[in-house]
Assembly symmetry: none
Homo-oligomer: 212 residues x 4
Amino acid sequence: MSDSIPARRQRRKEARPGEIIAAALAIFHAKGFAASKIEDVARVAGVTKGTVYLYFSSKEALFKAAIRETILPNLDRIKETALAETTARAQLYSAVRLWTAGMSTCRGSTSKLMIAEAGNFPELAEFYRDEVSGRVRRMLSDIIEYGIAQNEFRPCDPAMLARILCGPIVLSNIWRHTFVDPHENQPDMDALADSLLDVVLNGIVSHPKAPL
Amino acid sequence: MSDSIPARRQRRKEARPGEIIAAALAIFHAKGFAASKIEDVARVAGVTKGTVYLYFSSKEALFKAAIRETILPNLDRIKETALAETTARAQLYSAVRLWTAGMSTCRGSTSKLMIAEAGNFPELAEFYRDEVSGRVRRMLSDIIEYGIAQNEFRPCDPAMLARILCGPIVLSNIWRHTFVDPHENQPDMDALADSLLDVVLNGIVSHPKAPL
Amino acid sequence: MSDSIPARRQRRKEARPGEIIAAALAIFHAKGFAASKIEDVARVAGVTKGTVYLYFSSKEALFKAAIRETILPNLDRIKETALAETTARAQLYSAVRLWTAGMSTCRGSTSKLMIAEAGNFPELAEFYRDEVSGRVRRMLSDIIEYGIAQNEFRPCDPAMLARILCGPIVLSNIWRHTFVDPHENQPDMDALADSLLDVVLNGIVSHPKAPL
Amino acid sequence: MSDSIPARRQRRKEARPGEIIAAALAIFHAKGFAASKIEDVARVAGVTKGTVYLYFSSKEALFKAAIRETILPNLDRIKETALAETTARAQLYSAVRLWTAGMSTCRGSTSKLMIAEAGNFPELAEFYRDEVSGRVRRMLSDIIEYGIAQNEFRPCDPAMLARILCGPIVLSNIWRHTFVDPHENQPDMDALADSLLDVVLNGIVSHPKAPL
DNA sequence: AATGAATGAGGGTTCATTCAT
DNA sequence: TATGAATGAACCCTCATTCAT
C-alpha cells in the first residue's frame, strides 16, 4: 500500500531485469515478437525505453532472455515427483497432472511464441526443441517404456505415445491463450488431462461384458 | 500467334489473385505475418509490388484472403466420404486419415499462422475458430457421439475426445513446419494417425489374457 | 525556366544518385559525417529520407560514394597536360596551377572530410591515401625527379619536395572551407600557387649581385 | 595512513579536470567529436560519467576546454627562444624546429580536430583561427619581415611565406595522425622541417657554378 | 564529491502504401 | 493492367544528460 506507486527514477538494479522480462512476456504473448514495441514493454515494466536497453542489448536479446527464463523451472521437480510413484500408470498421472497444473497458472504459452518465431530465431528454436519440448517428451516416453517393461502397458512406440500425450495438452494450452472462447467453454487443463489419461490408458471401444 | 498472347494475358489476369495468394501463403508460412514483406510476396508471385495492391487493398487484407482461401476446400469432401462408412470406428479412421493425408501434401500449417496472429486479427481468429478448427472438431465429435449411440464406444465426452484426437495431429503438423529435426525423426502424419487411432480406441493398458 | 520546380513524386531514376551525392557532399562538408542527418541530405536533394535509401544502402555507403565520386575526375588530365611541357619547371607550374584551378571551383574540401573521418572509415582512408593523396604526390615527385635528372634541379629528396609542395596547397584549401575569414584575406589558391612555386624554385635568401 | 588517503583525494580533486581533459583529448583525437562518447572519456580518465559533468557542463564545454587547454603552452617560449637569435635565418630555424619538436611528442593533432569541427563550433573556430593558427603564422611572418628588412631575404609577401612554411608542417602532422602508412614511410617532423627550411631559403633550381 | 541507474530526445533504417508513368 | 520510384510513419537503438543515492 505504501509502496504502490514507484517513484520516477527509482534505482532498482536487482529487480529490473525480472520486471522487464515479465513485461516482455506479457507483450510478446499478446502481440507476438514483431508486433511488440520496446516502448510498450517499458511502459508495462514501469520504466522508459532506455532502461530496457540498460539490461538487454536488443529486442532479440530480450526475447531470448524471456523465453529462456520461463522454461524449465519445474520440469525437474515434476520428474522427481512422478518417478516416486511405483506403477507406470501412477507416474504418468502424476507427471501429466503436475505439468498441466503449472500451465493453469500461467498467463501465456511459451510454445505459442516459439511456434510463431522459430523461423526467425533458429538457435532459440533448437534450444527449445531440445531442452524444453524434447525433455518433456522424453520424460513421458521414459515412463511409458518403463510401463511396457513392467508389462503394465502393451508393447507400443513410446516416442509416439509421448507425442500423443503432449499433443492435446500443448495445443489446448495454446488454444486457451489464443482464442477467446465465450460460448464454447474450453475445458480446463486439469479436466483435459484426466480425460486424456483415461482414454490413452483404456481406449474408448466398448468391451461388452462377457456373457455369462 | 496473334491470339495466344492476349489469351495468356487473359488467363493470367484471372489467375493473378490465386498466384499472389499462393505466394503470400508461402512467405507468411516461412516468416510469419510481420516479418513478411509485400515485395517478397510479389517477387515469388512473379509480379511487382504495385500489382499486389491492385488485387488486395492492404497487407492485412492479403493475409485474411490467404487464410480464408486455404481452409475448407476439402473438409466437406472428407465429411462426406467418412460418413459413407457404416461403423463409427471406420468413420473415424476415414476422417482422420483423409485429414492427415491432406496435411502431408501442404508445405505450411495454417494453424501455425493463426496461432501466431490471432491476437492481431480478432475477426479472423473468430472465423478460424468457428469455421475451421471448430468444424473439424465438430465432425469428429459427431462421429464419436454416433459411436456412443451405437454402443460402439463407451460413454464419454465427445467434445473432449475430439480435442484429444485433434491435439496430436494439429500439433505434429505444426511441429513439422516449425522445427527442423535432423536426428529425431518426426513421425509422418499418417503413421501418427494410425497410432493415435489405435491408442484412442484401445488404450495402452495391458489386458492379461483370460486364463484358460 | 519551365522546369524550375520539380513536381513531387517525380520519377528521375537516372538523375537521383548524382543529385543525392551532391547534396550529401554539401551537408557532409558543412557539418562532418556524424553531425549530418540523412533527412537534411534528402531535403537538399529535393527528395525524402526514404528515397536516399533507395539508392544508398546506408549513411556510410552514401559517404563512401560521395568521397569516391569527387575524387579523380581530372588528375589524369592534369598529368597529361603537365607532361606535355618540356622543362621540369614548366611541368611543375602546369601541374600545380591546374590542380589549384580545380580547387577554386569546388565548394568543399574532400581532404577535410577525409582527415576528419579517416579513423572511422579505415578502408576509405586507405583508398584515399593511395589513390588520391598518394597519386598527386607521386605526380609531383616524378616531375621533380625528372628535373634532377635533367640537372634543372639540384639533388634533393623528391618525395619530401612533393610534400612541401602539397602542404600549403592542401592546407590552404582546407582553411578556405573551414574558417570564415572576414578581415584577414586568405590568398586565393592561384596566388598561393605562384608564390609557392617561386619560393620552392628560387628560395628567399638574398643573393647579392656579384660586384662588378 | 590516516592522512595519506585524504591527501591523495585532495590531490585528485584538484587534478581531476586536467585528467578528464587529457582523456577527452585522447578520445576526441581518436574518434572525432561526434563519435566520442562521454562514457569513454570517463573510463579513460578513471572516473564515471557523472563525474565528468561535475567539472564540465556539457560535451561541448568539455570539447572547448580541451581545445583551449592544449594550444598555447609553449608558443611564447618558442617565440622568445627564437628571437634570441640574431639572424632571421637562425630565428626561422629555431622557431620551426622548436615547433615541430613539440609536435613530435604529441599523440594527436589539434588542427585535425579543429578542421573537422570548426563548422559546428563557430566561436571556437574563431578563437583557434586568431589565437593559435594566426599567432604561429604571425610569428613566422614577423621573422620573415625582419629578414627582408635586414636584406637577408629578398622582398616577398611575409604572410604568404608564413603560409608556405606552415602548410607542410601542419599537414604532415595531421597526416601522421590520420593515415597509418605501412610502406611509404612518412618523414618525421624534424627531417621535414630541415628540408622545408632548406628549400624555402635556397630553392631547388640548380645554379651552375660560374665557370672559371 | 562521486556514482551509475534512469531518462528521453534524436536519428538511422525499414517497409507498407501511393501514384505518375 | 502493370510498374517501380517515391513517400513518410513507425520503430529500434544510442547516448548526452539528470538525479537519487
